[in-house]
């Protein structure tokens, strides 16, 4: 019951936050932090003790009894939500300050609280109708957060696209929950594995939740929404909100009986999202849009793990499945942390330079050492490099997939391509983040805006430091989290609760610690040696040229050029060029732009077609009275014919 009390207190603080958000910003910050702190503590507590909390009250909302439930699986998501929800609010205190944005800061606070509350409700509600209501409120408050700056056209467009796509997804979910309620006879949700007739409903859920999760090719709303939202909102959206889609998929794949091919389909969807997400990221020139595409990639990796766990269930192999699922769940945490860290870092760049275009940045490390270091750490983590957290979760997923290779079974057919493509994704992500770090933070500033950058303040730095600390902690001591993960896995698939921690996990963590120590020692050795022998500063060697300018540096586009050329079949890069010609060429320029291929080549033509059809249909309703009279007469004749024929 203590869990219920703490949750109720947290909810009260969130409501208090909603009330305070308009007039008392400081009180809002406190109540938001307290609420999220309580939620974090509760969810970690539930995970540690492997308990499940359920509460069914007589109190009704929309003539349905309130039914709440917090188990291991929802705790994983709830802990992430409360972490990012708390830290993002602290970050916003400086980033979206009251002085700079008097009006939108107010609404930002309000919808932040509403969004957090609704997402927490989505995670805990165990009634289909209440789930839908919270889901819809969550989607709407996210819309208002994305469009905090509605005076900008691209923000309005992004918000509109988000709203439209999100509602298309909601529509599928309405269908899903309605059909579920119709077949089971009540709105209550819970394990219903014995009802094998429900298995086809899973496809509806996969589509509906997949839109929110941003699975390729349903990701069309994601890049522009994440890029145009204020950065703390992007962090919450990318770190947590899209995970709600994953939550839905995991939740119902655990509660509903699965169609036999579901695991395979999810693995394929996951791997396609992973590879194409990172490929599209490589083609971007906008820092935040690039990060948004990496969300597609990481959602793909998570989906791959979940899908593979489902394949393992089909084969009755607990060990593979538990590894893959634990890896996927850990990756949910990890992605939440490093992606939020990166978005907050990008926000700090945007805050100080006013631009997201990578080709306008460069050399920021000098003015922004903290942001640079933290962004670099986040980049290494997202590229899956040891000794950080991204590697640990990918390693667990790999381990699950390799198990099926080691003890050969038919799952090998899907495991082998997935392993190869996951490694490919890792290498592509590394290339992408080398590009980002190099172009944005290293080298020389390309514009005056970049050279006049300034470091962010403590309010913005502390959340980033906490997130970076989380990345390092999970990287160095992953064995601490095994118990938490496995209790979540057990609430997904009950019989897997006894999976022992792989002995390798402790050794992995030991090798990570040793690597960190050795790297520190190596750094100290080299820097001491360099200082002993004297360090001189000279111009960068440019093939003997003595007047290099910042414009001569490699740009983001040229850096990724080779790779984007390999993938030009899907990227469809547009080139705008004026080649130098003549003996004394005057002007020349080359500009490459990666369009939103799925949106522009598939969705928009379809939308155009629908509009065209509607335009034809609209002609029937042209407002002329005599035509309507004609319709009535035609209708009467038709009715008359029907009655005569049938009688």
């Amino acid at each position: 019951m203590t869990i219920g009390l703490i949750l109720a207190t947290a909810a009260l603080f969130h409501l208090l936050g909603l009330v305070c958000s308009m007039r008392a910003p400081r009180a809002w910050l406190y109540s938001n932090s307290v609420a999220n702190g309580l939620l974090l503590a509760t969810s970690i507590g539930v995970l540690c003790t492997a308990t499940e909390w359920e509460w069914k009250s007589t109190f009704t909302v929309a003539s349905e009894q309130v039914h709440l439930r917090l188990d291991g699986l929802s705790s994983i998501f709830l802990s992430l939500l409360s972490l990012i929800g708390g830290l993002g609010a602290i970050y916003a205190w400086e980033y979206w300050s009251i002085q700079k944005h008097p009006l939108s800061a107010k609404w930002g606070r309000f919808f932040w609280s509403l969004l957090s509350l609704c997402m927490a409700l989505v995670l805990t509600s165990s009634n289909g109708l209440h789930f839908l209501i919270s889901w819809e409120l969550f989607a709407l408050s996210a819309y208002f957060l994305i469009t905090l700056q509605p005076q900008k056209k691209e923000v309005r467009n992004a918000g509109w696209l988000y709203l439209a796509v999100s509602h298309a997804g909601s529509l599928l979910l309405f269908a899903f929950f309605a059909l579920l309620a119709q077949k089971t006879g009540c709105w209550d949700l819970g394990p219903m594995l014995e009802r094998t007739d429900l298995s086809t409903l899973f496809w509806l859920a996969l589509l509906g939740f997949g839109v929110k999760a941003g699975i390729f090719p349903l990701h069309i709303w994601l890049p522009s929404a994440h890029a145009n939202a204020p950065s703390h909102v992007s962090a919450l959206m990318s770190g947590v909100a899209i995970k709600m889609g994953i939550y839905g998929i995991v939740r119902f794949s655990g509660w509903l009986p699965m169609p036999g091919s579901a695991g395979w389909i999810m693995v394929v969807l996951g791997i396609v999202s992973a590879v194409l997400g990172v490929v599209f990221a490589l083609g971007q020139h906008d820092l935040k849009r690039l990060l948004a595409y990496h969300s597609v990639e990481n959602i793909g990796i998570i989906l791959l793990g979940i899908g593979f766990a489902m394949v393992a269930i089909d084969h009755g192999k607990a060990a593979w499945g538990a590894f893959a699922m634990a890896g996927a769940l850990l990756h949910i945490w990890n992605h939440g942390m490093f992606k939020s860290l990166l978005f907050l870092g990008a926000g700090s760049v945007l805050h100080s330079t006013g631009t997201r275009r990578m080709s306008d940045l460069g050399g920021l490390w000098n003015k922004m050492p903290w942001t640079t270091a933290l962004f670099a750490l986040g980049s290494a983590a997202i590229a899956g490099l040891p000794p950080l957290n991204g590697f640990v979760s990918e390693w667990l997923i790999y381990l699950g997939m390799f198990s099926s290779v080691i003890q050969p079974s038919s799952a090998l057919l899907i495991a082998i391509p997935s392993i190869i493509l996951l490694a490919l994704t890792g290498a592509l992500a590394l290339a992408c983040f080398v590009k980002v770090c190099g172009v944005v933070f290293l080298g020389a500033p390309r514009t005056p805006a970049a050279s006049h950058a300034h470091e962010c303040g403590l309010w913005m730095r502390i959340p980033m430091l906490v997130l970076a600390g989380g990345c390092v902690l999970i990287g160095l001591a992953p064995f601490l989290f095994w118990k938490l993960l496995i209790s979540a896995v057990a609430s997904w698939h009950g019989t897997w609760e006894l999976t022992p921690m792989p002995a390798a996990l402790k050794l992995l963590s030991l090798s990570h610690i040793l690597l960190t120590l050795a790297a520190t020692a190596g750094f100290l050795l080299l820097s001491r040696r360099a200082r002993q022998k004297g360090i001189q500063r000279r111009l960068t060697w440019d093939c003997g040229y003595t007047g290099p300018t910042p414009r001569m540096q490699y740009t983001a586009g040229s850096f990724a050029g080779t790779i984007t050329e390999w993938f030009s079949w899907i990227l469809r890069i547009k080139r705008h060029e004026k080649l130098p010609c003549g003996i004394f060429p005057q002007q020349a320029h080359l500009d490459k732009h990666t369009p939103e291929t799925v949106l522009e080549k598939i969705i928009e033509p379809c939308a155009q077609w629908i509009l065209w059809v509607s335009r034809i249909i609209r002609q029937f309703q042209n407002g002329r009275t005599h035509v309507y009279i004609l319709y009535i007469i035609l209708g009467l004749i038709a009715l008359a014919c029907m009655t005569i024929c049938w009688s």
């Binding site: 000098n366 050492p369 290494a380 590229a383 899956g384 490099l385 040891p386 390693w395 790999y398 381990l399 390799f402 290779v405 080691i406 050969p408 190869i420 490919l424 890792g426 290498a427 592509l428 590394l430 290339a431 983040f433 080398v434 590009k435 190099g438 172009v439 290293l442 080298g443 020389a444 002995a503 390798a504 050794l507 992995l508 030991l510 090798s511 690597l515 790297a519 020692a521 190596g522 750094f523 820097s527 360099a530 022998k533 360090i535 001189q536 500063r537 000279r538 960068t540 060697w541 440019d542 093939c543 290099p548 910042p550 540096q553 490699y554 040229s558 850096f559 080779t562 790779i563 390999w566």
Partner: protein
């Protein structure tokens, strides 16, 4: 017993550190000797890299005025990451520092970490050439890494294990031949050798790895050259251990065979460098894709072997 075990662990660590740190610079020497011998030249001394490293270690450092402290840190981490990857490989009679299921993946990702750090250091300088070199390095590495993970898959399938010490046991058959061809090509790419990269080139436009370390000097250059030599040794040891059944031999015999194998790999690298020109950059992806395909066919044969 605990103390004895601990002491033997420390002893083995010391031996492998000596091997990896002290013997690695010999390999480029052997390669260069072979190249000189084919070209009927005298060539640099066998221990030339040792002299170079000693000289560089004593020199001061010239840093680009755009470089941050991260330049030194990245160089150091890149060097240590290669060493850490190397320590995961068992060396004949000497066990690896640590051995667990999944260490093969750690090895691959440590190499990736090293690449990330080298690239970071290169981009610190804001030089167009270093940017160019880095772009090529990370692009080609995508194909190399795909080939390497396929090789790991093949070995895992053959040995039913994901522990390096168990995976590196050779099995006869055509699959092994395919695998070593693929891995040899990956070795050439990863250790910046002809036909992918030319370690001796003097034109910045045609460099990959050399372009990335244009602004390294003194002890930093020494660390990065030493790291490259260790990487060559690492891949040579991997290749030899896949082919030769060292585990079945006694300590001294296996050491002798291991050394002979490594020398053979170096000779092969030298011969390739002597008789092949560096490919045009457009052709390199084709070469690396071939490496991947070799590994992939090895995987298919291993799989087929299981099916039977």
């Amino acid at each position: 017993m605990q103390i004895l075990h601990f002491l033997s662990l420390v002893f083995e660590l010391l031996i492998s550190l000596v091997v990896w740190l002290l013997l690695a610079p010999l390999l480029p020497g052997i390669v260069n000797k072979v190249k000189a011998w084919v070209a009927c030249r005298k060539g640099p001394r066998l221990f030339q890299l040792y002299y170079d490293l000693a000289k560089l270690w004593k020199r001061g450092v010239v840093l680009s005025d755009l470089a941050s402290p991260g330049f030194i840190a990245a160089t150091a981490v890149s060097w240590i990451a290669i060493l850490a990857a190397a320590l995961l490989i068992p060396l004949g009679p000497v066990n690896s520092l640590m051995s667990f299921s999944g260490d093969a993946l750690l090895l691959l990702y440590l190499l990736a970490l090293s690449r990330f750090c080298t690239s970071w250091a290169a981009l610190e300088t804001g030089s167009a050439f270093e940017g160019m070199g880095t772009a090529r390095e990370v692009s080609f590495a995508i194909l190399t890494e795909t080939a390497l993970i396929t090789a790991v898959l093949t070995l895992a399938l053959k040995s039913s294990s994901l522990t390096l010490s168990l995976m590196l046991t050779p099995t006869p058959g055509a699959g092994t031949l395919l695998l070593i061809s693929g891995l040899f090509a990956a070795l050439l790419a990863e250790s910046c050798r002809v036909p992918v990269d030319d370690p001796n080139t003097h034109l910045e436009l045609t460099m990959i790895h050399e372009a990335m370390i244009l602004d390294h000097s003194g002890p930093l250059l020494a660390a990065s050259l030493h790291g490259a030599a260790m990487k060559l040794l690492l891949f040579s040891v991997l290749l030899v251990k896949i082919v030769l059944p060292l585990g079945e031999l006694s300590g001294i015999e296996s050491t002798v065979y291991l050394i002979a194998g490594i020398v053979l790999v170096c000779i092969a690298v030298g011969l390739v460098e002597s008789f092949l020109a560096r490919y045009a950059f457009k052709k390199v992806p084709l070469f690396l894709t071939t490496a991947f395909l070799f590994c992939f066919f090895a995987l298919l044969t291993a799989w087929k072997g299981f099916a039977q």
